[in-house]
């Protein structure tokens, strides 16, 4: 598992998500601040739109958009993060490894 920290979820470009899959990731999780609490006001809304767009692209290229997800969590909420990681790993048992790895 690898974590990449950014100043705001809106700094994520579509291509970064795809490159994570190119590098062999089976799943990618984006963690963003709760809606309405973004310090940049709409940063997490932009991230949500981009993630949705890449999910659709992943479906079109046959990688399965379910491998990419976005969750809104309060900063420093380690319990939420642990739950998300656990659920993602569990979902991966059904999805299998990245078909492009």
């Amino acid at each position: 598992m690898r974590a990449v920290k950014l100043a705001c979820s809106s700094m994520i470009k579509d291509v970064y998500l795809l490159r994570a899959f190119e590098a062999g990731s089976d799943a990618v999780v984006v963690l963003a601040c709760p809606e309405g609490q973004c310090r940049q006001v709409t940063g997490n809304l932009r991230a949500k739109k981009r993630v949705a767009r890449v999910q659709k692209l992943l479906d079109e290229i046959g990688i399965d958009g379910k491998r990419l997800s976005l969750f809104n969590i309060a900063p420093q909420d380690e319990k939420a993060v642990a739950g998300i990681v656990r659920d993602t790993l569990s979902d991966l048992e059904g999805l299998g490894p990245n078909p492009a790895s």
Binding site: D14, V15, E22, L57, E60, I61, S101
Partner: protein, 222 residues
């Protein structure tokens, strides 16, 4: 600006299928601003095509480059090196850029990755609207800056058809009636009298209907 939309990924995949060494060439002007073919879109598309190839066990080498404008030789030449090392170029420029590239590099297949659609503007966040048909004989002064050739579905020049409802076109009720807009604008400008002058049948010769057009500026030829 010229507005276009990137082709669906599966159509692009078919277009580039025969080629093992591909250059995806973006354009930093019109197609960048409508999110069809700038450097971000080049990167995303390259990554998506690589993922598809990996998934299908195909070997393909995809290079990426973006130039300022693909309709200008001095910028196109910057891609010469990468083009020489490629079996084909997938251009994300508008149709003019694709053809300019093809003309300058006639021994390399140049493929289109974008469907070029219209001359338009960014009307509001994320929304591009068609404004100009390039008819070659602009009468926007008479019509208060709203073009009935482009924005009236029937291209009427002498007033509304009467089919509009609540200011929307009878052909598509998402489209504002251009004549409603023209009348409202001319009223605001105090120029409603402009419409008293009859507009005769349009001379379409300056438009594309007479074949591809040229503009020669002798004063710029040395």
């Amino acid at each position: 600006m010229i507005v276009g939309e990137q082709k669906p990924i599966n159509e692009i995949k078919e277009i580039v299928a025969p080629y093992k060494r591909l250059l995806i060439l973006g354009c930093g002007t019109c197609v960048k601003t409508c999110f069809a073919g700038g450097e971000d879109e080049v990167a995303t598309l390259a990554s998506a095509l690589r993922l598809m190839a990996k998934k299908e066990g195909r070997e393909v080498k995809i290079e990426e480059q973006t130039v300022e404008r693909q309709c200008e030789d001095e910028f196109i030449q910057e891609a010469a090196g990468k083009i020489a090392d490629s079996d084909a170029v997938l251009s994300l420029a508008c149709g003019a850029g694709v053809q300019a590239l093809a003309r300058r590099f006639p021994t390399t297949p140049v493929l289109p990755g974008v469907n070029t659609t219209f001359i338009g503007v960014l009307e509001s966040q994320g929304l591009f609207t068609e404004e100009c048909s390039g008819c070659g004989d602009c009468e926007l002064a008479k019509f208060g800056g709203i073009c009935p050739i482009t924005r009236c579905a029937k291209k009427l020049l002498n007033g509304p058809c009467g089919g509009s409802k609540d200011g929307k076109c009878e052909i598509n009720n998402d489209t504002p009636c251009a004549w409603q807009l023209i009348i409202d604008r001319l009223k605001a400008l105090g120029q409603l009298d402009n419409l008293k002058a009859y507009s005769g049948p349009k001379d379409w010769r300056p438009s594309n209907s007479g074949g591809p057009r040229k503009l020669l500026r002798e004063d710029h030829v040395i």
